[in-house]
Subunit: 263 residues, 2 copies
């Protein structure tokens, strides 16, 4: 089976990806982002992100109740259902779900961020966490009956609350359960770049050792992404491609050798 992770950037060609998917003859599953849409909506609703600074000096975005509302509207609502609609228009029987539907992606809620407020140290707990397992029977039920699951955050915490999480980690959990043959990640770049600021510096191939070297040198969001890639490689079994989601035929190109082959 094929897992397709679609980035949430504004430049991603969703119609092109889904048109390509209509020609794919294997069980498929989509995980998508919507960060550009979420940011635009938050802007229009004048709901800026809540940022807190931890006692150790790191800034974190707080996923408060309003932030989850934004995710529900932009990811689970607008983006998820417009992708499902694109699928239906192209004869793909998609079913759009979040991680809380049928506890499809179950996670552990983060314990909180230590902050200083009014001279006291206190723990700020938000609605975010890490995926721990997926509801494999429900995914199999859908896949075995010819449906294409289209998945989005939020995921479900231990108590049933909707929490924010990273799609890269969700893909790792999905692959652990479903053992995909191929994983394609479509982003707003030609693939993995030697120089992030130079689109001509595409690396067509990365070995596992390359990934580990890059991960050791990276920081922040890129480090987290490379760590997720490392975990996919450790789980094994899948051909992994990171390719451009902006072209005319992004998925076809990625399946035909464009982008970065990893592993």
């Amino acid at each position: 089976m094929l897992i397709i992770k679609i980035g949430g950037g504004a430049g991603i060609n969703l119609e092109g990806i889904i048109t390509d998917l209509a020609a794919v003859r294997e069980p498929s599953l989509i995980v998508h982002g919507a960060n550009a849409l979420r940011d635009e909506l938050a802007d229009r609703l004048n709901m800026p992100k809540q940022v807190v600074t931890s006692v150790s000096g790191y800034d974190s975005v707080l996923s408060d109740e309003a932030a989850i509302d934004m995710i529900l509207m932009s990811y689970a609502g607008l983006r998820n259902k417009r992708i499902v609609e694109l699928c239906q228009r192209h004869g793909i029987n998609a079913v759009g779900l979040t991680g809380i539907d049928g506890r499809l992606v179950q996670g552990a809620r983060n314990t909180g961020i230590r902050v200083r407020e009014g001279g006291k140290t206190l723990i700020k707990r938000d609605f975010s966490g890490k995926p721990r397992s997926v509801n494999e029977p429900l995914l199999r039920l859908l896949l075995d009956n010819g449906y294409v699951p289209v998945l989005s955050i939020p995921i479900c915490d231990e108590a049933g609350f909707a929490i924010n999480s990273e799609n890269d980690d969700i893909v790792v959990s999905l692959h652990a359960a479903l053992r995909a043959d191929r994983i394609v990640q479509l982003i707003e770049a030609p693939g993995f770049l030697a120089d992030p600021d130079d689109e001509r510096s595409l690396l067509a191939q990365l070995t596992r050792a390359d990934v580990e070297r890059h991960e050791a040198q990276a920081s922040g969001r890129m480090k987290r992404k490379l760590l997720a890639v490392k975990r996919l490689l450790e789980a094994g079994g899948a051909g992994l491609v990171i390719a451009d989601g902006r072209g005319r035929t992004p998925l076809r190109d990625a399946l035909n050798g464009a982008g970065t082959r990893i592993g």
Copy 2:
């Protein structure tokens, strides 16, 4: 099985309804509205409804692309997933879906409204229509495996487009396929009122003949609602209750005799 239709008014006690549902020991399905939420969001985003006047003089709200976006954010996103979350928090394994997911509710798109513009008569076609059938195998798959489907608009037209539709008509289609034993409609009133402006005028019982008489006298939205009730009665088999969704234990009360019994 039990079908629960939850109105989209701001006064509906969702937490109370879902708490009650956790004690219900039969397969259940929820259909919900979100009109108050949609109107509030449209207001905050400054996206007023588009109203057109037909050549015969009737005003209609046009479900243009932006209106469907509003439905996706408020109904399919925020309201649907917060209900699913409430269910998960109360141990109910809910799966939130719209009519386009797996073509769960398939409809026929309206042919359009004849309007006069710039001295010409033309047809304005929007994204709205009427449900014609439901994907019964997908619903059975979920119900038979212990899931509680939580359904919302939009539904799916012949070509796969997301279209607006009336929940009353969707419930008729669901009952035709699933043959519910009980149908409970929870609204922002004590039930069916003899005088719409007087909450003390609750009619505890309506016969089929009563419904037909009221329907013949009603107009607009109320006529459409009574027509849907008439069609439910014609399909037969279900105990139908319209009751107050605003109380502390709305579903328990409705199942225990509150509101209006119909049939």
